[in-house]
């Protein structure tokens, strides 16, 4: 019997998600962008686990989170590799420099 109602977890997850999103929108440093993506992913994982907790029939929520973590790891590694290659070309971390796609 845990006395902490599920809504609290959801609020925490929501706040974390919003922080991540705003971080992604505001900050220009590529690394910080990647980190805020990680934050958003973690927030989602938390929500998944929370709901799995109130529907304890199976572990779907948790399995899902497990795979999200796996994918997030892969994504982080490839993201950082790209940041590295970008740095080699442009010598900077500012995301504004990456605008070759401008029409």
């Amino acid at each position: 019997m845990s006395s902490v109602p599920i809504e609290y977890y959801l609020v925490v997850a929501a706040v974390l998600f919003i922080t991540g999103a705003i971080g992604f929108l505001l900050r220009r440093n590529l690394l910080i962008l990647l980190m805020s993506i990680e934050l958003m992913l973690n927030a989602v994982n938390l929500t998944l686990v929370a709901y799995n907790r109130i529907h304890p029939l199976n572990h779907n929520g948790q399995i899902f989170t497990f795979f999200v973590i796996a994918v997030a790891a892969a994504e982080a590694s490839v993201g950082l590799a790209i940041v590295l290659a970008f740095y080699r070309v442009r010598r900077t971390m500012r995301s504004d420099e990456a605008d070759l796609l401008r029409s």
Binding site: E7, L16, G23, L46, V49, R53, N60, Q62
Partner: protein, 202 residues
């Protein structure tokens, strides 16, 4: 018993929220990485409360252990230029986006909570939920296919990351035989080789 739980919950959520804030607000990426680390650890704590021990372990192991370390590694690699300077060039769209997002999410939260029936205490979690054994049984019975696919995915990610991070690498064995008349051609190959090695060590 309840007080201890609440205290643990508040501690963990505090850790998460502050970590998140620091990741986003910090000027120096290392402090950002530390913020990320604290958020991840906080979430691991919350997993524990939500009867997901295995996940908490994985969280600590994979996320905190690998991903944050990877971040730190790259930050170290990039050195001082990792912190990009102030630049207000395209400020408007970004702040506009953030503002709208904030307003919308607050509105959504208000809407959701006004509709929800009010906080109720949780019922007891069934025994063995979230433990390695329960989770493992389900993982390897229902979710075997995604598991294998995840394996392949991780392999691809690794190969990709290595290829991208290494950059253009001229295979020395292909260097033109001496006495090749278009001297200028071989110089170009050699130039590429040197630039690459130089900047890696910078």
């Amino acid at each position: 018993m309840k007080i201890f739980e609440l205290a643990f919950f508040f501690l963990a959520s505090l850790l998460v929220v502050l970590g998140g804030f620091f990741t986003v607000a910090s000027r120096n990426p290392i402090r950002g990485a530390m913020g990320l680390l604290s958020a991840i650890v906080g979430i691991a704590g919350l997993y524990l409360m939500l009867a997901a021990e295995f996940l908490a372990a994985i969280q600590i192991l994979v996320y905190a252990g690998a991903v944050v370390v990877l971040f730190l590694f790259v930050i170290m690699l990039l050195g001082p230029s990792a912190t990009s300077g102030r630049d207000t060039r395209s400020a408007l769209p970004r702040y506009l986006g953030a503002g709208v997002l904030l307003a919308a999410s607050v509105g959504a939260l208000v809407l959701v909570f006004s509709a929800s029936a009010g906080p109720r205490a949780l019922s007891a979690a069934p025994t063995g939920m979230g433990t390695v054994e329960g989770f493992g049984r389900e993982l390897f019975t229902q979710a075997v296919v995604p598991f294998e696919i995840a394996g392949v995915l991780l392999l691809i990610a690794v190969v990709g990351a290595v290829a991208v991070a290494r950059g253009k690498q001229v295979d020395p064995t292909l260097a033109p035989a001496p006495g090749d008349d278009d001297k200028q051609g071989s110089d170009a190959a050699r130039a590429v080789l040197t630039t690459h090695t130089k900047d890696v060590h910078s």
